[in-house]
Amino acid sequence: MATLPSTFGTNHQPTAVELARVASVVQQSTNIAGNNYTSIVPTVNVNDGLSGNTGWHAIDLAPTVFTKYGDASSGSTGSDLLIFMTGSFYLTANPPATLVFSLKFDATHYVQVASNIVNVINVHHQAMGLTVERFWPAGVYALQAYVGLTNASSPYNGVVDNGDTVSWFVAEIPH
């Protein structure tokens, strides 16, 4: 919950500093971005496994620009990020395997938001998840949806096809 001035009332004229605090909370709590990808062409084929930062495949080719206003602190100047993500996919071989949808924040940071262990092939499944990211500095980010696959062993055969949808949103949560 955002920290707001507690002195507002009929006998207190808000100061500029107090109103600046209110404005900052409003700015952050109205800061929501997202995207929805459907008719995904070409199909995203996942033919390798996740290992560290490798094995991720872009769903959307153009990143979504998002500005975070709050800083990385845990105090009242900071903010967190709520992320919702969902997507569907299927396996063509080698079950069980886990499809993971992530939101990429920078060159090396993939926030894993939604995953699903799939036990059968050629049957579409949905993965949906929510998470909170903390301690990101204020600034401009290029957010991009990715998909990856973990198996006990290769071959890796996951598919997000043109009948699937991958969607997400991110919302800033002021402290």
């Binding site: 900052s24 919702f84 579409h124 949103f169």
Partner: protein, 168 residues
């Protein structure tokens, strides 16, 4: 919002217009509608057109014009289909100053008579087809199928729509 915020963040005393803009933003971000249905719907369609998921609707009023605010929709439903390999889609159906089915997601349901779930979200912007003007809307959960089949959302399934106004 940005000019208003900049003025206040700079520590300047607000004027009435600035405060009005700030309050308008608060009004809009707290403008959230939720439709939650426990289904008994059975939808037969192969015409690739949306039909209602029966069970109810909500009334929701958008405060800002299409240029002044966007709308975040989150949708989900579970159910089963009567034949194999049916492409199913979901939408939030708006009826009001603008009448439009706003798609939120789709997926092939490959097995017949096996329950599945679809979910998705989307931000409706001023540049989108069916951009939402200010005014009061009836919002329904809607679904469509690409191939001829029956989609059943039974008494153990749910269909949900969340609508959130996003001030600029």
């Amino acid at each position: 919002m940005s000019a208003t915020i900049s003025a206040l963040l700079a520590g300047r005393a607000p004027d009435a217009a600035t405060m009005a803009t700030l309050l308008k933003a608060i009004t809009r971000i707290t403008n959230i509608g939720v439709l939650a249905l426990n289904g008994t719907a059975s939808l037969s369609t192969g015409s690739n057109t949306y039909v209602d998921i029966a069970g109810g609707s909500i009334t929701w009023t958008k405060q800002g014009s299409a240029a002044e605010s966007d709308v975040l929709i989150i949708g989900a439903y579970s159910g089963y289909v009567s034949t194999t390999n049916v492409w199913c889609a979901g939408a939030a159906g708006f009826t009001g100053p603008v009448t439009f089915d706003h798609y939120w997601g789709s997926m092939y349901i490959n097995l017949a008579s096996s329950h599945n779930m679809l979910a998705g979200c989307r931000i409706i912007r001023a540049t989108d087809s069916g951009a939402l003007a200010a005014g009061t809307y009836t919002v329904k959960a809607r679904a469509k199928l690409l191939t001829t089949a029956t989609l059943t959302i039974d008494t153990n399934d749910t269909a949900s729509i969340v609508v959130v106004e996003l001030p600029k």
